[in-house]
């Protein structure tokens, strides 16, 4: 384990870190992927925060992880099965109950057939 630290910093992906630049374009892209909107002052703030946060997590590059398998599951449980049986956990009425807009059968949303780009 100790050599992970001592062998230090060089791996193929380290170049990526050096080039990592947080700019408005990146924020716009991430905002779009996250379905969030940042305007004016908010955008400046999130840009500054992201710069700091990415610089903070960039420290990980100092650790050599060559040959280490990513840890995906913490749980030791394997092959957790259940019988393939249909159960009604929620009624339709219950499922619709917390929706901001609904009728007796459906969730209601604004009209979706128009492409907003065509307006």
């Amino acid at each position: 384990m100790r050599q992970h630290l001592e062998n230090g910093s060089k791996s193929a992906s380290s170049i990526k870190f050096a080039l990592m630049k947080v700019d408005e374009q990146l924020i716009d892209k991430l905002a779009k992927l996250s379905r969030l909107e940042f305007k004016d002052a908010d955008k400046e703030a999130i840009l500054k925060d992201m710069e700091r946060m990415i610089a903070f997590v960039d420290q990980l590059e100092e650790l050599d992880t060559e040959g280490v398998e990513p840890l995906i599951h913490v749980s030791e449980e394997v092959n957790v099965y259940r019988p393939d049986e249909v159960t009604e956990e929620l009624t339709q009425e219950q499922a619709l109950k917390n929706a901001p807009k609904h009728d007796s059968f459906y969730f209601k949303v604004p009209k979706v057939v128009e492409n907003p780009d065509d307006k």
Binding site: R35, N98, P100, K101, V109
Partner: protein, 479 residues
Amino acid sequence: MKNYHSLSEIQKAISDGETTLPAVVEGYIQNISNSKSLNIFLETFEGESLERAKEIQTKISEGNASSLAGAVIAIKDNLCYTGHKVGAASQILNGFESLYSATAIKRLLEEDAIIIGRVNCDEFAMGGSNENSSFGSVLNPLNPEYVPGGSSGGSAAAVASNCCLVALGSDTGGSIRQPASFCGVVGVKPTYGRVSRHGLIAFASSFDQIGPLAHNVEDASKVLEVISGKDDMDTTSSSVAVDKYATFDGGTGKKKIGYIHECITNEALDSDVKAKHLELIDKLKVQGHTVEAVNLEELKYLVPTYYVLTTAEASSNLSRYDGIHYGYRSGEATDIESTYTKSRTEGFGDEVKRRIILGTFVLSSGYYDAYYSKAQKVRRIIKEKTEKLFEEYDFLMSPTTPSCAFKLGANTGDPIKMYLEDIFTVHANLAGTPAVSLPLFKHSAHQLPFGVQFMSAPFEEKALLGFAHNLMNTPSLKD
């Protein structure tokens, strides 16, 4: 009314005829009302708690009450309870009412506990001061100029102000232990998988665990024993048998304890916190325990690893808030995109958005390997190193937090500074091990409490809690 500080005290007072369970519940309701200015409770379930108290009182009188009869419990606002509101202290879940109960809640009710209300927390459990709640900050009951810690700040404050006997919180990176330390109560984060996460509003699914906050180890152990165990509704819940945590048999032997050198020499560590921690190490040695320094060279990488992984998981988990199926929809939603974007932008608070953006970044094409996959590898290194340490040591110890509670607003300008609050606690979540914070100390300068943290190997809760119980009941170890 008289304030009670343990379940056995309440049960004895009821069986001796000194009081009744409805009277006990009324006392808590009175305390809740008296501490309104601390902004702890989002909702009190008054009428139904009193109703249930009467029913359980009858069972007690007839001699057929269950193990938690007398326990009055507050729940964090990210735990589902059928027919009750729950919102993770977020506007995006405005008006949401649970359709089912969390397995932990169901198990408490089956053992005759009373759920007295739901308490404030950081929005989606993201925060270390309870200043990120969309319902306002919780104030520390010991000094209202200070934060109670977070994210389970309401849970810790509720216990500390005698508004309940025990509270449930959730711990993703220290969210039970850090507020427990700041409010002077006991906090337990169980092994990952020990308690079902079914009905816990997800933040980071491979880290989140539900756990108790209490006045003492005994009550925390009794509650943990009830809520632990396999659950068909959570495939990550463990099938390892649940021990009898609260019998405390076998907790008295001499233990081998490693104290983490890098924690003690950390530059963020307050000098009084350090001095008292070193004193405790000496006292433990005097008691006959072996206490040795161990190294965790990776300490400075724990919080960055934690932030990469938890924000990634959060960005995925929180994509379910779409303004369509439940919760808040923006009034400006005119088409499908604006329904998503406007609802999420208006419904989530700043810290939640920050974490979604960072999580989206570390998962995005081109950066996944350099950040997300990298952090998963570091997590394995940390987990394996921790397992190795537990081959040699019964427990690992460190201060729970680098300092005591800070003043409201002191850290809000700098997210990184706030993140480093968790520097000693994230270890247990990364490695999946259990950990407790014990309120053994008071700071010399302002008399605010702070805790010591002990970790054990996974599923060694019985040994950990037994040891913790002994420490708490050894007067010479207290500050």
